[in-house]
Subunit: 320 residues, 2 copies
């Protein structure tokens, strides 16, 4: 059994065409029905304003599967600790023996979440999309843009955050890091006016993006909502959009933007589209939406690829 720390994991797992293809293949397997993925296990720890989620999946033929544990303790920042945390335990899929503990503190979750956002744009956004609007200015607000650069020629980012100071800080950081122009806004509608791609990355519990904010031809990726209480999108968006995709319908109906809507319209799972190998048949005027709640198959896929790279790079560790 190998134990790897965040620094080692960060050194081998990055945004690149290979990691994108790892997540793309995972969604494709999901779309082909080659994945076993039980519902998320969730437990609240009310006395400490905390919760813990456990996700897993097995991809037929994969060498390993991961059990990912993600605690979120929302009072942590007041004592100088991050809210989100966690690790992945990686098992041999043929013997069930523990192969590795990836003590990544949530890094691989950040990575695979942003890569799913890139995939959503790859299959749904216009080919010439180069202006992104990001709602929220946290970790995913940065990472989603990094990942989008793998699939579209992004040159401009509009950003809105509830706290405008954060949006201005984001500008400084992202312009330096990603070499794109960043324009902060105090208003969501204004931030979205020119967007080809809108990414919502907030923990909002009330809709922050409305139907009338979305320009024709834009693609929306909503990745903030991953629990029963959260919601970023005005339901009109789900009712009116030309295409609605989700990572996993059953999960989106409980944790994501589909909850409580009883949509009768066609909703496609992203994996089906990826498995077809063809982008969404969209016109240049169409508005498309993809709701991502985060799936165990992404965790198992990124863990498989990361362990292979860690073994190749670091070999056996003294913790064997």
């Amino acid at each position: 059994m190998q134990l790897y720390h965040r620094q080692q994991i960060e050194s081998v797992a990055t945004f690149n065409p290979h990691s994108l293809s790892v997540i793309e293949n995972a969604f494709s397997a999901l779309g082909r029905g080659e994945v076993t993925m039980p519902p998320v296990l969730s437990m609240a720890i009310h006395e400490h304003n905390g919760e813990v989620d456990v996700k897993t999946a097995h991809i037929k033929g994969a060498e390993r599967f991961a059990i990912k544990v993600s605690p979120g303790f929302f009072d942590n920042p007041s004592i100088g600790l991050p809210s989100l945390n966690g690790l992945m335990v990686v098992f041999s899929a043929s013997t069930g023996l523990v192969e590795a503990v990836l003590f990544d503190e949530g890094y691989l979750t950040d990575l695979r979440t942003a890569l799913a956002g890139a995939l959503s744009a790859k299959y749904c956004a216009r080919d010439d999309a180069n202006i992104v609007t990001v709602l929220g200015a946290g970790t995913q607000a940065r990472l989603q843009v990094s990942a989008l650069k793998l699939v579209r020629e992004i040159d401009t980012v509009h950003v809105w955050a509830r706290d405008n100071a954060q949006a201005r800080h984001y500008k400084v950081e992202v312009e330096a890091e990603l070499g794109v122009r960043v324009i902060p806004h105090q208003d969501v509608a204004q931030a979205c006016q020119q967007a080809d791609i809108i990414v919502t990355t907030t923990p909002a519990k009330q809709p922050i993006l409305h139907w009338q904010d979305i320009p024709k031809g834009a693609h929306v990726t909503a990745m903030g909502s991953d629990s029963a209480e959260k919601r970023e999108l005005d339901p009109h968006i789900l009712h009116n959009a030309d295409w609605v995709l989700v990572d996993r319908r059953a999960q989106s109906e409980v944790l994501g933007e589909l909850k409580g809507l009883a949509l009768s319209r066609c909703v496609e799972e992203l994996g089906k589209t990826v498995a077809s190998g063809r982008p969404t048949a969209r016109s240049d005027e169409a508005i498309t939406v993809c709701d991502l709640t985060g799936t165990g198959v992404q965790d198992t896929a990124i863990a498989n690829a990361t362990v292979a790279k860690l073994l190749a790079t670091y070999g056996g560790s003294p913790h064997t």
Copy 2:
């Protein structure tokens, strides 16, 4: 974050009055409604005849909670590996930070499972119970007797196993290890004739113990069934017994002996009885039954106690 291996864990976690009280307090908290315990997460890996279960719980006020991962890969023995395996990841209940990985290979599960069997006897068996019948001759068949010795003056063990050679081997091992007389049998009915306590410890998929096999005044602990396909008890036992207890009703109805029975009779949860502080109100002639499927609260409780002892014994490890 500390990583502890099986040998270290075995050195601090054993059968003793303290570990019994740890599990007793866990059931008591469950009975008082002070435990959050989500349903078990299960995933089958059919291509390798494997499955993985994840259990967790939080006990109000406890310092830590555990996520336990138990893989079972049933073709492993053919390549010289054990079927069962796994580890516990222990988190701070106030911050969600990982405190320890207990790489116990299933040892703590064995321990807490046997201790629950002892509790079931403590609260349900006659005070003068000293003859035990064990069905099955594997690990739990040994450990259940070890644990029972904490609560009753056990002097004689009758054992039956599908493979009689295993029952004879069990006799040699258990007589040497536990200082009790062991009598192997080729027939379940005969093995049970004199029993005060009967413990079923097999992976049977069809009932192995029948109502007419159980002598008056006996207590039955059924701990083998923990999945949708398994069953050890003839349903007549659940219909006819004077008292029926389970560790968790919702779980026993899916994974344990209650499944498919639609029992309308009174079924008590063991935690309620433990919380009351009083043994089951049984006559000397009564037949009592307790079905144990194994619960996350046992895992969290034994993990809390074990980490405290490991820290006191070994302090910080080089894996911090």
